[in-house]
């Protein structure tokens, strides 16, 4: 406890969530969530489907209204009534599961829309930045393409760059690989890993457990609208404290164990005649 206070003094959290409560009608989806995110920290949020993790992310930039608690970004309250909501949202980049590129604009115009219209930045300057980022992910040649001409993985990487060009302080990733074909998952995760290496503050909701382990500074396990446990990834994945987290993690290891058992059984069977 003392150590925590000391840490907090050294580095004021960039994002603070205090007893956040979200209800849809009578259904309580989030029930008193507390979370402090420090600058440069990568937080991975995991949990069974329907546990409220996506809703939690959507609350953070006020895409959902909240029924209790508060969210602060560097001390400024984020809520649907915030006067400066559009200003606050510029500081929080979000990437959606379904990409949500604007289908009537080409890749470059998708990226340039918000920086030029919202931040009123010089188009040429943003374009230079956008092209450099596109080159970084090997999509320079797609600048004039329309979203429908891109693969899912390409669309998602463009969506990430679109968010980055607003120079956000925090990035939110909402199951960004869940809609992708397996072979495209990697190219998107690699981009996010690179961002983590650059020291960006990120909150990531994902079902890719290996990726979660590799990228997270801290894993948060949400179940039934509450944080059941949080901690270092190795600690969480190797030695979960709660029974629910154990069960949850087992659903991911089940297949592998089965395969190992299968191989060993096959191996022993194939060895049998030799031995006999």
């Amino acid at each position: 406890m003392e150590k925590r206070t000391a840490e907090a003094n050294i580095m004021e959290p960039i994002l603070t969530v205090n007893s956040l409560t979200k209800r849809f009608g009578d259904l309580t989806v989030l029930d008193g969530i507390n979370l402090k995110v420090r600058e440069g920290e990568v937080i991975v949020i995991v949990g069974p489907s329907g546990c409220g993790k996506s809703t939690f992310l959507r609350c953070l930039n006020a895409l959902e209204d909240i029924q209790g608690g508060e969210i602060r970004l560097r001390g400024e309250t984020i809520s649907r009534d915030s006067k400066d909501l559009t200003k606050l949202r510029q500081k929080i980049g979000m990437v959606f599961q379904s990409y949500e590129l604007f289908p009537h604009l080409n890749v470059l115009d998708n990226i340039l829309l918000a920086p030029t219209k919202v931040q009123k930045r010089d188009r040429e300057e943003v374009k230079k930045e956008a092209m450099a980022l596109l080159a970084r992910i090997g999509l320079e040649s797609k600048a004039e393409s329309f979203p429908r001409q891109l693969s899912g993985g390409q669309k998602q990487r463009v969506a990430i760059i679109r968010a980055l060009c607003m120079h956000p302080e925090v990035m939110l990733f909402d199951e960004v690989t869940a809609a992708l074909d397996p072979e495209m998952v990697r190219e998107v995760l690699d981009v996010i890993l690179e961002l983590a290496n650059q020291g960006r503050t990120m909150l990531i909701v994902t079902h890719e457990m290996q990726f979660a382990r590799a990228i997270a500074d801290r894993v948060v396990f949400i179940n039934e609208g509450r944080i059941w446990e949080e901690g270092k990834p190795d600690r969480f994945f190797d030695d979960p404290k709660t029974e629910r987290a154990k069960q949850f993690l087992q659903t991911f290891t089940f297949e592998r164990k089965r395969a190992e058992e299968g191989t060993s059984r096959l191996a022993s069977e194939s060895c049998a005649p030799d031995a006999g």
Binding site: R58, N61, L63, T86, K87, R89, Q90, I92, G93, M94, F96, S98, E100, L101, F102, P103, H104, L105, N106, L113, A114, K117, V118, Q119, F146, P147, R148, R162, A163, M166
Partner: protein, 219 residues
């Protein structure tokens, strides 16, 4: 068919066609503006104005243009507003067309996925910016076929203007039939002139529609 008659009265039809197109274009432009206004009121859920817009749409769509025109042409002077047939024609068409345009735009906007608005919001766009740069362009492409159908419908509706003594195509044809009893020729010219006005509109409409469809739309 009396070709000499056709030749003689062709200029009369030309004048009438110009009048029809003028009133049609002005009325349609006004109805687009009314349509956009109603759609924005609906989209931003403006209190009170929303109910008024909804009432307007129902009244306008569920009464015939002829009766709307009579109200404007004979009714307005009774409450002290001076009118002329030309302005009444434009106003009547705008009153009718506004509701059709409003419904067309609204259905287009409703057809754009809500998460597109959220995507725009997450980038810091205001509600108005999201509507203008993200939602409206997509809605326009979705509702364009219905929009063109409205334009053609409204141009055809101009044929009732003869009732308020506007010398449009229909008026001219009726007039000539009454004066000379050259029914075949008069009606023949009437059909030809309506086709001359409407066919290009229809063709240009389908060309634009095709371009919109093959532009950046659809995932």
């Amino acid at each position: 068919m009396n070709l000499e008659f056709i030749h003689q009265y062709l200029p009369l039809y030309q004048e009438a066609a110009i009048l029809t197109v003028q009133i049609g274009v002005l009325g349609i432009l006004a109805s687009i503006l009314i349509g956009i206004l109603c759609t924005m009121i609906h989209y931003f859920r403006v209190p009170v104005a929303r109910q008024i817009a909804a009432a307007y749409v129902e009244i306008s769509r569920n009464t015939p243009l002829l009766i709307q025109l009579f109200f404007i042409y004979y009714g307005l002077p009774k409450i002290g507003i001076r009118t002329n047939p030309y302005a009444c024609g434009v106003a009547g068409l705008a009153f009718l067309g506004g509701s059709y345009m409003a419904e067309t735009f609204r259905s287009g906007i409703d057809a754009v996925d809500k998460i597109q608005t959220e995507s725009a919001a997450s980038l810091g766009l205001s509600g108005l910016q999201a509507l203008r740069y993200v939602i409206f362009p997509q809605a326009l492409s979705i509702s364009f076929p219905a929009f063109m159908a409205n334009v053609i419908f409204l141009l055809k509706e101009t044929s009732v203007f003869s009732a308020i003594s506007l010398m449009d195509l229909m008026f001219t044809a009726k007039d000539l039939i009454g004066l000379y009893y050259q029914t075949t020729e008069s009606l023949f010219l009437l059909v030809i002139f309506y086709l001359l006005i409407l066919l290009p509109v229809s063709i240009v409409g389908s060309l634009i529609e095709r371009r919109l469809r093959y532009a950046g739309f659809g995932s």
